[in-house]
């Protein structure tokens, strides 16, 4: 029974990881950028939301209506000031420049907001700790359920946008070849800017739920980036539903690890990540070897 509970909690945790990772995954899928400022940007959204809630005394969910557009604008600005310039300089530069953005953001947030750890948990009242008790040992936290549903809705919505809208088609085309879409009259830079704005909306959502679920401080972005990164590597870089699968695999692995030994929580997650990474690399090499004789023959 306890084991079943661990798996259920792991799946719910996976929903959180998927929400945390989808912005990172989307940005990589479209722009081929590993955004190392991902975690710091999520914390920035959390601070913006907290500022709004403390100022107005309104619910964080109302605050999101304001904070998400602000994040989208920030994404737009980030694209034109940092990402676009660094993309032109080669594949490594965006990694370095987003790392720089992370350092600047972390320390600026420390200057503005101080070192205190904050949480939006108190602002959402009972939702922070209410749960449905299925049995004596299994209960589902309402907040966890909300996070999971949000993750599914975000990923589903993203898929609908990409598949059925003009913007989605342009994004997909630009993702596969930015040089060619430029030739046929699409401004790849604007498409990238739109993608960055969408990614930032997802990051904003992730930051909001992180702030409700856990506590955060100006330097809390780094660990979140690690979980997000592991999620998208397990799920397959740039794959949408893979992100959800990756999150669930990571969350379940961590919780099963914790059942075996309390040490096991993080280790199990990291091990799963490594195994998937090695399997992908190894699998890739076999495919590459299989190609070699063909080329030699032709």
């Amino acid at each position: 029974m306890n084991f079943l509970n661990q798996i259920i909690q792991g799946v719910l945790l996976g929903g959180f990881y998927a929400l945390l990772a989808c912005g990172l995954s989307f940005m990589f899928g479209v722009m081929r950028i590993i955004n190392l400022a991902h975690g710091s940007l999520a914390i920035l959204a959390a601070f913006l939301l907290m500022g709004f809630c403390n100022y107005t005394n309104l619910s964080p969910f109302i605050g999101l209506l304001l904070v998400l557009p602000v994040m989208a604008l920030l994404g737009w600005a980030l694209q034109f000031t940092v990402l676009d310039r660094s993309l032109r300089a080669g594949p490594l530069i965006p990694v370095l420049s987003t790392f720089g953005v992370a350092v600047i953001l972390d320390n600026s947030m420390f200057e503005v907001y101080g070192a205190n750890s904050q949480s939006l948990g108190p602002n959402i009242g009972n939702l922070a700790y209410n749960s449905w008790n299925l049995t004596n040992t299994i209960s589902i936290a309402q907040l966890d359920a909300l996070v999971f549903v949000t993750a599914v809705v975000v990923l589903g919505g993203l898929q609908i946008i990409l598949r059925y809208t003009a913007l989605g088609r342009t994004i997909r085309a630009t993702a596969s070849d930015p040089a060619v879409v430029d030739l046929i009259g699409v401004n790849a830079r604007m498409v990238y800017a739109a993608a960055a704005a969408m990614a930032m909306v997802m990051i904003g959502l992730a930051g909001a739920f992180l702030a409700m679920r856990n506590s955060f401080d100006p330097y809390a972005g780094g660990p979140q980036l690690i979980f997000a990164f592991e999620t998208i590597v397990i799920g397959g870089l740039g794959s949408l539903w893979g992100t959800l699968v990756g999150g669930i695999v990571l969350g379940v692995a961590q919780n099963i690890g914790a059942t075996i030994s309390p040490h096991g929580f993080l280790i199990a997650g990291h091990l799963t990540f490594l195994v998937v990474l090695v399997a992908r690399t190894f699998g890739g090499r076999i495919a590459w070897r299989a190609l070699l004789p063909k080329r030699a023959a032709s």
């Binding site: 205190n116 904050q118 401080d217």
Partner: protein, 452 residues
């Protein structure tokens, strides 16, 4: 081998600084001699005289102050600018020691919560700023590397707020053997103080004496597991320990299930602060908090913001204090007692008082008491000797190095406190003391209330 290492270190340390040639030679002489041991003690003493003469203007006292002001430990350093400001204001017109007036310069450095940086900053203070003493505070990540750097350079050093076992044994001292430290001193609470304050206050709430403990796999967590939990078990409590977990864990379903099935009514934990917020919310989601009568947290819950993060789940959490504003002792430097110090801080900063405020003040109190009592603060060996027998009443009470558990260490008290919902005033929470077993001069106005 060791001699070579010390010698190389001395060359490295003296190379980059802009001092007179004699100073460089003499420092090399001191450290080389220290490595060479007893035979060279006479040489060492004569070389020492030269260093003293060369270390900055003879009538200026330079004090290094190392603490974490940014990074994850920044909560500890939050009140330091205020406390340092008070001291600088007080010493603006100089400090009279042994009939001579010295200009006082306090040089504060931020470790950015990085142990390597704490070590580097201390070396820099010693070699480039030519300080006469180094003070350091808050967590082993600051005090231990800073103390090691000071010990290696023969610099009088005093630190606080780090369990003394971590500071003393964590730096290589062995139980039952003479202290290996000549220059570095430390005053703080230890594991025994946790046990005393817990046991003294827990009795007021009837429980089944079953403690669920959550202690991570880090230096503090493992030291507590090895030393504190046996003391609690000896006092008749049953310990339910699911075992060490890693810092940064985001889901605690397994530990919560174990605590629930064991029926624990007391909860005790030593986590990093963000982990506690996550754990406690999950404990509430899964119904654990409804069976907890006493929730005793440590390492987190020191500062108001850490408890506010738990919202209404933070009310009635118990957490021990190494200083509280009801401490009656007046600082020998500023003359302010606890209440006045806390009020001055709240007025100046607009923030609620916090316990590190008093301890940073106490560190300055004790450091300057040693400088005064030494008679000649420019004599480093004399200053270190004064530290070894220092006995002074500071903001946090009596610091007495003559009665410490080991040489180089003095004990400061730890009293249990509880966070309550504030019924008036600008702040969300009020923090009250529920125990004074370690120091009966501190008034206790509240009894521990059951968490649920």
């Amino acid at each position: 081998m060791k001699k070579n290492k010390v010698f190389l270190e001395s060359i490295k340390n003296s190379a980059p600084k802009n001092s007179t040639p004699q100073a460089g030679v003499s420092r090399r002489g001191v450290l080389g001699a220290a490595g060479a041991g007893v035979a060279a003690s006479a040489l060492s003493r004569s070389a020492y005289g030269q260093t003293m003469a060369a270390a900055g203007p003879a009538n200026t006292l330079k004090i290094g102050f190392v603490s974490p002001r940014s990074g994850p430990l920044a909560g500890f350093g939050e009140a330091d600018p205020f406390v340092l400001g008070l001291a600088r204001q007080k010493f603006a017109s100089g400090l009279m020691i042994g009939g001579k007036t010295y200009t006082v310069e306090i040089i504060d450095r931020d470790t950015q919560s990085d142990p390597a940086r704490a070590s580097q900053l201390t070396k820099d203070l010693i070699n480039n700023d030519n300080v006469d003493m180094v003070l350091a505070t808050s967590t082993p990540e600051v005090t231990n590397p800073a103390a090691d750097a000071a010990e290696a350079a023969g610099m009088p050093f005093l630190s606080t707020v780090c369990p003394w076992e971590s500071w003393y044994f964590g730096r290589g001292a062995k139980p039952g053997q003479p202290s290996p430290f000549k220059w570095t001193y430390h005053f703080s609470f230890g594991v025994a103080q946790f046990a005393t304050s817990y046991l003294a206050s827990w009795d007021t709430v009837p429980t089944n004496k079953k403690i669920g403990v959550l202690s991570p796999n880090d230096a503090d967590g493992q030291a507590i597991r090895a030393h504190l939990f046996p003391l609690l078990a000896n006092a008749g409590y049953t310990i339910v320990d699911p075992g060490p977990y890693e810092d940064g864990t985001t889901d605690y379903a397994d530990q919560i299930a174990q605590f629930k099935s064991a029926g624990v009514q007391i909860f005790n934990t030593f986590p990093i602060p963000p982990d506690f917020t996550t754990f406690w919310r999950q404990a509430a989601q899964h119904g654990l908090t409804r069976q907890i009568r006493i929730a005793e947290i440590a390492k987190t819950g020191l500062f108001p913001s850490q408890v506010e993060a738990s919202g209404s789940l933070g009310y009635r959490l118990a957490a021990a204090a190494y200083w509280h504003k009801v401490f009656p002792y007046a600082s020998p430097i500023t003359g302010l007692d606890g209440m006045k110090l806390a009020n001055a801080y709240e007025t100046a900063s607009g923030k609620q008082w916090q316990q590190q405020l008093g301890m940073s003040m106490a560190l300055l109190d004790a450091g300057f008491a040693a400088l005064s009592q030494s008679g000649d603060p420019k004599n480093k060996a004399g200053l270190a000797k004064t530290l070894s027998t220092l006995k002074v009443v500071t903001t946090c009470g009596l610091i007495d190095f003559t009665t410490g558990p080991v040489p180089n260490v003095a004990i400061s008290p730890l009293l249990n406190g509880q966070w309550l919902k504030a019924h008036s005033g600008p702040y969300k929470l009020s923090y009250v003391l529920v125990d004074n077993a370690e120091d009966h001069n501190v008034p206790v106005t509240h009894k521990l209330l059951p968490y649920h």
